[in-house]
Each structure stands twice: as C-alpha cells, then as structure tokens.
Point group: C2
Chain length 329, copies 2
C-alpha cells in the first residue's frame, strides 16, 4: 500500500480541514496516511474506524507562513521538515503539504533532491477549460527567472505528466508567448522555442486564452508569468462573480432568475474550482511532492491525496529522466 | 476644433464599422474627422448631414495585417502611413487606427517621434474591475523585453495618464509581480521597484488579481506579460460564458432563469466589454495615437475617438516630459 506523508499542521486553518480531507480520501481509496504533527491534537479529530490506516510522526513545531523559505532547513523539528524527510528516508512514497510552499520546495529540492538532468523543479497546476478537460501549466511559481534550457526541461516534464498522469497518448505542448506566430516571444522564449522544437509533442507558441479553451494539453512559462496568469485568472473569475451578485440584488425578477440558475453557478464553480485539483505537483524532484494551498478545504486535501496516489503509482519520474538523457550533450 | 485622423481602411472588416463609429461619435461630440482611404468607397457610407465634419485624404493602399510592421515605413501610400503623417505634419491632433498595431507603433515612434527622455513608448489599456472604476495597465504589447528603466518610464507615463485623463488626483501605481511583498519579483522588476520608489504615487508590488478589484489605478508590466495577461483575462471570461451557455441548455428551468437574468449578463458584458474603451493610447510619443483592435465595432471606434479627444485636449505629454526631466541624471 502506498504511504503518504501529510503535514497535518501547516495549513492556514490548522489541522481540522486537513484531517477531514484525509478521512474523505480514505473513504474512497486505500492508503497509509502518515500524519506529521501533534498527535494529542490530531487523534480526537479522527473517528475510530479510520485509525488502522493512520500512523503518527510527532512534531510540535509549525513552520509559519511568514518565515523565509530557506530558514526551514534549520527547523528540523517542524512538521513540514519531518513530512518531507519521510519521503527522503523512503518511509513514504509521497508528501502532501498545505504549509509554506516555498519551504516545501526548498526541502524537496535540497533534502529529496532533483531528478537527473533537471536544473530546476517546477510547480505544475491544472487549469479548467470550457472543453471538459484540463490544461497543465508549468511553472506557476517556483522559478521567477528562467533560462531557455529550464523552459525546455519544463516541456519534457509536462509532456511526461500529460502522458503518465493525465493519460493523454499524444499530448500537445505549447510555449506561452505574446502571439502564436513562430517569431513571437521575448529573448528567452525565442531561444526556448528552438530547444522545445526537438520534442515531437511541441506545437509552437500559444496565447493566454488557450489556457482555457482546451486547444493544448500543456503550457510552458516561467514562474513569474505563471504566478501572474494564475492570479489574473482568479481575479477575472472573482470580478465576474461579484458583478453578477451586485446586479442580481437589483430586482426581484433577477433574484428569481438567479435561483433558477443556481445549479449552473454551482456547476461552474465545480468546473473552475481549485478544490477539484487540490494540489500542484512539484515536477523534477525524486519521488512525489504535492503542494496544496494554505487555505485548502477538506475537498482540496482529498484531491491532493488522490493526485499523490496517482503520481506515486506511476513511472513519471523514470520517464522524465529517460527523456532528458536523450538531450544531454 | 480638434481634428482626428482616422485610418478608414485598416480594420479587419473594412471601412463600414469604422465609418459607423465616426458617425456615432459625431452625434455626441464636435470634431473634424479626417478620413484616410478611398473616398469613392467611403462617401456613400456617410449621410449628408455629417458631411461638413468630414474631410478626406486619398489613399488607395491598405497595409495588411499579415505584413511585417517595419515594412510600413516604405508603404507611403498606405492609409495607415498617411493617417499617422497627418499628425506628424500637425494637420491633425490625434490619429485613431484599427489597422496593424505593430505598424501604427512603428510609424508613431519613427515618424511622429518619442517624447523627451522616453526610451520606449508603451501601449496602455483600461481594464474593467468589480469596483465601478477602471485600472490602466501598461505596457500591454509594445515592448516584449524591457529594462528596469523602461518600466520606470511606464510608471511616469501611467501616473500622468491617471491624473490628466482619468482625472484621479492621487493615483496609486503598482508594479505587477509574483507577490505583494517588496522582496518579490524577477531580476528586472526588482530593479524597477527601486526606481519606481522615487514616485510618490508608487504603492509597491501588486498581484494579478488586483487588476480587477480596483485597489490600484495603474499597473506596470512589460509588454510580454501585459499581452499574456490581456489574453488570459479574455480567455477566462470567454470560458465562463461558454460553460454557462452549455449548462443553460440542459433544462427548461435554467433557460427561464437565464431569460430573467438577461439584463445582468448584458450589464456584465457592458462592464467588461472592450468596446467600452475602444482603443489603447500609445503613451510616450509626441501627440496622440490611439490603437484600436482590428475587429473594432462601431461602438469601439466611437469610444476610441472619445479617448483621442480627451487626450488631445489634455496636457498629458507636457506632464510626462516635465516629470521625466526631474529624474534624468
């Protein structure tokens, strides 16, 4: 059975939503949940019937969101450090963390280590589309300054994720740019375009709107752009929802209309909801590291665990190393 | 009276929507419309009562969207070239072009010329927010590779636009980054942060979602990021609208609900509609150049003309030059 290390203390709302997510996941799949945290605080949250799937690793310290990521290496008693080290020591096959994402990345890179020929691990996230499928976007925040070869490696990692985890036989990989034409791009993406052209699955430059129309499966960008597009997308969705709500209240008829359409808005929420994916894999490190939002709901934690199970049960890391070895000079 | 040069031939759909937009604008404001194009084609589109506000400059050539921007300098008979030259020669105070935007930029920069101490003109665009105001974002496409000093100049230009055109006394200027903290950013934006700190109106780093919540008035980014965030926003809005439409059709009740909410969706469309702004000013060139979308509707053309009138009647260019002169070493 796959064992998953879970930092039970690191989320913004304490252990409760994380534990609830673990229980929801256990209702659907079998796995060993290794909860890292203060067992005195955690045990009362867990009904007896789940006890046999759960073990505890004691940790009394929490690495807080306000601390500087690199300081985590000295915080060996923190739940996040101990959770990552369970994977490093091969006691677990995956770690899910809703704690400090920078710290999780630092620990993953420096304690677990990078895959062969990967210079920079990248955070990959699934984005909703109107085409009933998802688009994988990477990097969405791990590396703000990227060289062309980093973007190329992201392409190889994204391709492997699409094939091994999303189960797309012939994925389409696009490079995010300021126009679809081959000549478009900034200095770095133009150079990355040349490198990525070596991949059979590379379809060339893509534009921002293609993240949401399902026309490609994987989109490559640096972590600065990735972070901005993620937050821009959230901002648009939230502004639209606010404007609709402001206007609904203006008349009884529209309130009735909104009630009749309630199911649709719920559907929409499901379709574009972060909780549906629940976590972003850190690609390029040995083993499996899933980074969840600090504000993760139980549903998000559950889905992050499902992601971890899929990842840990796949050959993705071997595929990435094999593929990259072809391109080493 | 202000004279506005209008490239009547350059849009994707020919002269008709452009002429209709000019007429709609003339119904609201007085100005001289100088239409550049084939007058034999244009005259039949214009009702007699508007004739006295319209003059023609003959041009038989159209610079097409597929051509390379820099080639436009050799196309002296094209409508876009002649329209820009009307401003260069002081026959008009502004030019509105729905033609090749790269060509318009090249002509504006090389024929009209840059303001003193401006290294790179930038395209500024107004974005809708949920707060009943707009956010100005620049650069959204003129400069894919920017240095810190260019971003600083965009800050000065954006501040001037906010004060002179948007009539905001104490505008807030933010630098788009991957986090609000001062330490966030890539190499270039970190350096730009230092430079922008010299401006009283600079409020620090802002995140993608702040484009749409009205928390700042002006957001600075390079043209690569600006283009991506523009198209990403369009993509999100269009995906949400598609998903809602797909779901409405599934039941009679939701169809009824949608009918009751029709006004709201229309309101939403107005509030987030590009046509409401109609054009993006190219800041940093002498005089006034408004760049409109090739697919501009009459409404977009009308609003682009209103923008041009406001711009041409303001002191913005003097303010930009004065402000920049304080910072020249």
């Amino acid at each position: 059975m796959i064992s998953i290390a879970i930092d039970a203390m690191g989320g913004d709302f304490g252990p409760k939503p994380i534990i609830d997510g673990v229980i929801d996941a256990l209702n659907v799949k079998e796995f060993n949940a290794v909860l890292v945290g203060d067992s005195k605080e955690l045990k009362p949250l867990i009904p007896d019937e789940y006890a046999r799937f759960i073990t505890y690793v004691e940790s009394s310290e929490v690495f807080s969101m306000g601390e500087s990521a690199t300081d985590v290496l000295k915080r060996k008693e923190s739940s996040i450090f101990k959770a990552v080290d369970l994977v490093k020591n091969k006691e677990c096959q995956a770690v899910v963390s809703a704690g400090h994402s920078g710290a999780t990345m630092s620990l993953a890179t420096l304690r677990i280590g990078r895959l062969k020929n990967v210079s920079r691990p990248a955070i990959a996230t699934l984005m909703p589309t109107s085409a009933n499928k998802q688009t994988l976007v990477l990097d969405v925040g791990a590396n703000v300054d990227c060289k062309a070869e980093h973007l190329f490696q992201f392409g190889v990692m994204g391709e492997a994720y699409a094939k091994q985890i999303m189960r797309i036989q012939n994925p389409k990989i696009g490079l995010l740019s300021n126009g679809e034409e081959d000549c478009k791009g900034n200095e770095v993406t133009k150079e990355a375009f040349e490198l990525l052209s070596k991949l059979d699955s590379f379809v060339g430059n893509v534009e921002g709107h293609q993240i949401f129309d399902g026309s490609v499966d994987v989109i490559i960008c640096d972590g600065f752009v990735g972070n901005i597009l993620l937050k821009t997308s959230e901002g648009v969705a939230s502004a639209i929802s606010k404007i609709i709500k402001q206007n609904i209240k203006k008349s009884l008829l529209t309130i009735m209309g909104a009630l009749l359409m309630k199911g649709i808005f719920k559907n929409l929420k499901t379709q574009i909801d972060y909780d549906e994916y629940g976590g972003a894999p850190l690609l390029g490190v040995k083993d499996c590291v899933i980074i969840s939002h600090g504000k993760s709901s139980p549903k998000a934690v559950k889905n992050a665990i499902f992601q971890a199970l899929k990842f840990a049960g796949s050959d993705i890391n071997k595929v990435i190393e094999d593929e990259l070895s072809h391109f080493v000079r």
